[in-house]
């Protein structure tokens, strides 16, 4: 599979066992990558089926029950199986120790365990498809979820188990970042991706247990009938929503923060410029993580929670916009007077700026209570969260995937096809979801398999867009898989980046670095450092040369 004649982590040990029992963070990261990509395609197929049914009003391909199961599975697979582990557990696992100049994460065995816990959780979730599929929506609202006859328990148990996988990744990363940094790498010399993963881990650790207990109680409620959430039993269904969103709002930042970390890396690397406002970006990650715990009630403005509560939550919601804005402005400023090139990762960066801005602004609209009353549970919300999750996180994930692809496999992908796929995805995405803003504001409720005729044209365009997306992803799947086998050999540092993961070979050797690396320059010192053809050029050394000047 691998190119290099020298030993690396891919060919150092052979055989299926050497993968299944590996403690190497790179291999575990790859296994995660395989798992989350499979989940993404599975979720994507569900999405295409949803869109297919919505092409025309009335019942076309699926019954109401099947449709309800489809969007539940789409949501649950995309959230729990794909997007939460996507960046931290797959890409993060691979690059974090490399970026820190460490040999591995702090607890390699826990790392492997969390992968297998993920697998077990995934099996539970998949089992629920066979055992009569779930139809509650990914939000599992009671009392519907406690009364429906579908296999809610296996899906909730699956999500519960997946939660532990996520917790262990978080624990592992926190310890790794605190204790495993290379000599010389102080907190403010870490790459911003590491800061982002750190903030993400904090959320994972603090929020996920509450989801765990919530789902556990849901299971107990269904089996034993303890009645805490069931109004017929003296319980309160709105309480369930508080518990659920206390996790699930911070969870959306579990999704997007690592994405923002990737963007910070990409924007500096492809602008060859020192990142602008390093500290502010680092702090804003922590800021977002903190504030994200205070705003969950904005999902419940119409739920019957107290008016006072709505006021508090609406107020707090807006403060997430500030650190997010800070990041966007800083990325923009980083590009200023840079030397920008347009390989696929940079294209994804630009797409991210475009799409996440729309997602973010519509988030602000939803945060204003009076507007949310109208928009809640319509396609406006659906469009908002696809712009943030797909347009933000998934796009950043794809950017990161292309960026580290040569490091992971030691092979280059086909840049031309990558640009074509990018174009399909970017255009297809906007066609699919921009239309949904209009659908939503016109009043089209979500989770409807059948709708009034007046919404038909927009739904149709949305469906066409989803096909474009499908084509884009097929092209991508093709050239990425092709490159693993036949791609040209990648240099150690194809993008001329300065962070530590590029200072080892592509693919990295088994324990990452020959010797313990020591931080010699900061990750974004593009004003004094430059890498050309794997060769580090220092400004001090080239002063005399005329063509390389400032």
């Amino acid at each position: 599979m691998s190119v290099a004649t020298t030993a690396n982590y891919l060919n150092a040990e052979k055989g299926i066992k050497s993968w299944l029992f590996t403690l190497d963070h790179k291999r575990i990261g790859l296994m995660y990558l395989f798992a989350v990509m499979t989940s993404f395609f599975l979720g994507g197929v569900f999405a295409l089926l949803i869109r297919l049914e919505l092409l025309h009003p009335g019942q076309d391909f699926f019954t109401a029950d099947t449709y309800n199961q489809l969007f539940t599975l789409h949501g649950a697979v995309m959230i729990f199986l794909f997007i939460i582990p996507a960046i931290p557990a797959a890409l993060g696992n691979f690059v974090l120790p490399l970026m820190l100049g460490a040999k591995d994460v702090a607890f390699p065995r826990l790392n492997l365990a969390s992968f297998y816990i993920y697998v077990v959780g995934a099996l539970f979730a998949l089992y629920s498809i066979v055992a009569g599929a779930v139809d509650t929506g990914w939000t599992f609202y009671t009392p519907y979820s406690t009364t429906t006859s579908t296999s809610v328990i296996s899906m909730t148990m699956g999500a519960f188990i997946l939660g532990f996988s996520s917790i262990f990744t978080g624990v592992n990363f926190i310890a790794t970042i605190h204790k495993m940094r290379a000599p010389g790498m102080t907190w403010f010399k870490m790459p911003l991706m590491v800061w982002a993963l750190y903030a993400t881990s904090i959320i994972q650790v603090l929020a996920t247990p509450v989801l765990g207990i919530t789902l556990l109680l849901l299971v107990i409620e269904r089996t034993v009938g303890i009645g805490i959430f069931d109004p017929a039993m003296g319980g309160d269904p709105v309480l369930f929503q508080h518990f659920f969103w206390f996790y699930s709002h911070p969870a959306v930042y579990i999704m997007v923060l690592p994405g923002m970390g990737i963007i910070s890396e990409l924007v500096a690397t492809f602008s060859k410029k020192k990142i602008f406002g390093y500290k502010l970006i680092a702090y804003s990650s922590l800021g977002i993580a903190l504030i994200s715990f205070l705003v969950w009630g904005h999902h419940m403005f119409t739920s019957g929670q107290s008016e006072f509560s709505s006021m508090v939550f609406s107020f707090l919601t807006f403060f997430v916009g500030i650190p997010s804005g800070i990041k966007m402005f800083n990325w923009l400023a980083t590009m200023y007077k840079g030397r920008i090139t347009f390989e696929a990762p940079m294209l994804y960066t630009i797409a991210f700026m475009f799409l996440f801005a729309i997602g973010g602004f519509t988030g602000i609209m939803l945060g204003a209570i009076s507007i949310d009353i109208h928009m809640h549970d319509t396609y406006f919300v659906v469009a908002h969260f696809h712009y943030t999750m797909m347009g933000g996180t998934v796009i950043a994930f794809l950017g990161g995937l292309h960026y580290w692809w040569p490091k992971i496999w030691g092979r280059m992908y086909n840049e031309k096809l990558a640009k074509v796929a990018w174009a399909f995805i970017f255009v297809g995405f906007n066609v699919t979801f921009f239309t949904q803003f209009f659908l939503g504001s016109q009043g089209m409720p979500r989770r409807y398999y059948n709708y009034l005729d007046q919404y038909q044209p927009l739904h149709m365009y949305s469906t066409y867009g989803s096909w474009m997306l499908g084509v884009g992803f097929l092209i991508m799947a093709y050239y990425l898989i092709y490159s693993i086998y036949k791609g040209p050999k990648a240099p150690n540092n194809p993008w001329g980046a300065l962070s530590m993961e590029w200072q080892t070979t592509s693919p990295p050797i088994q324990h990452n670095f020959e010797d313990q690396p020591v931080l010699e320059h900061e990750p974004y010192d593009y004003d004094t450092r430059m890498v050309v053809n794997d060769e580090l050029i220092k400004k001090e050394d080239v002063k005399e040369k005329e063509d390389i000047n400032v």
Binding site: A64, T148, K279, M335, I340, S370, H374, Q442, I548
Partner: protein, 313 residues
């Protein structure tokens, strides 16, 4: 799309709608400005500073306090304005005026029932006078539903065992869509109705007639109307195909097996019981999920339904 509405919103039919739309427009314009600034800036820089020749070192521009303060403070001020504005309209939406008339709303799988103080009861059709504040006192009989009228820009969840309220004042006569927007299972997308806004006089006339609707109809015709109006059709077909519930085709006089093993022939009493106490005897092969129509259907309405069933051979 609503022909009277704008590209973005359906037409404004309540007193609160213009206010919601105004705030939306405000944020929309702000967003466009910031979008041009950030994303336009991205495109501009990407083009302007694209790599033009040899590799070079770049400038050390790593921060600028003035700028950083600016892009922290300005958005903070703006979101503060948005918050206050949004909250003010929200309070207006929340507190009904004292002059409101009250209608009791019940949501259940998968239809709406409206009970008027004057005694009228309607299903899936809310009839209100124009320019009159109306307060809806809502609750659900099973899971959570949500009452949503896009033209009014108003929405509220309907919870089991708890009251929630919602008020509006319609400003134009006409017929408007009413959706259930909280996912409630199989019939969620069918749980839609109409809000009919009538001129005062028409409303009074309607109210007077609503009490004895069907008075000048043949019982089986009235029954057929009730079959549609009271949403029986969401679960029962008349063509013999079983939906959520058994078909009404040939129901009268049919002999059926119950889940407890007994056999019952559907006569007047049994049908009446099935409607008022559906869980008492459950037909084999079906879930006991039919809602009770106790308080929704009057005696003569049930009689009409039975008359109608008799015609379904």
């Amino acid at each position: 799309m609503d022909p009277n509405g704008s590209l973005i919103f359906p037409s404004q039919v309540s007193t609160i709608a213009p206010e919601v739309d105004a705030l939306f427009d405000f944020i929309l314009y702000l967003s466009i400005i910031f979008f041009i600034l950030v994303v336009g800036g991205t495109f501009y820089f990407a083009w302007k500073y694209r790599k033009k020749g040899e590799d070079t070192f770049t400038k050390d521009l790593s921060h600028n306090n003035m700028l950083e303060v600016l892009w922290t403070v300005i958005p903070t001020i703006l979101v503060f304005i948005i918050f206050v504005w949004g909250f003010k309209s929200y309070m207006k939406m929340t507190i009904p005026p004292d002059t409101s008339m009250e209608i009791k709303v019940t949501g259940q799988k998968w239809f709406w029932t409206f009970n008027y103080a004057e005694g009228a009861t309607t299903t899936n059709e809310l009839v209100v006078p124009v320019n009159q504040p109306v307060r809806l006192l809502m609750s659900s009989n099973d899971v959570i539903h949500s009452f949503y009228v896009p033209n009014f820009r108003t929405k509220m969840d309907v919870l089991p065992n708890r009251y929630t309220q919602l008020w509006f004042e319609a400003t134009e006569t006409g017929e408007y869509n009413l959706f259930c927007t909280e996912y409630c299972g199989k019939g969620h997308s069918e749980m839609i109705g109409k809000v009919k806004v009538l001129a005062r006089a028409d409303y009074d006339a309607w109210l007077a007639g609503a009490g004895n609707a069907g008075a000048n109809m043949k019982p089986e015709e009235f029954g057929a109307k009730l079959y549609k109006d009271k949403a029986c059709f969401t679960c029962h077909s008349i063509d013999g195909s079983p939906l959520v519930g058994p078909s009404f085709k040939g129901i009268f006089g049919r002999t059926e097996k119950m889940t407890d093993g007994s056999e019952i022939t559907a006569d007047e009493n049994y049908i009446r019981e099935s409607i008022l106490e559906p869980q008492a005897k459950v037909v084999q092969g079906f879930q006991p999920i039919m809602p009770t129509y106790q308080g929704v259907l009057k005696d003569e309405e049930i009689d009409a339904l039975i008359a109608y069933f008799k015609t379904l051979k």
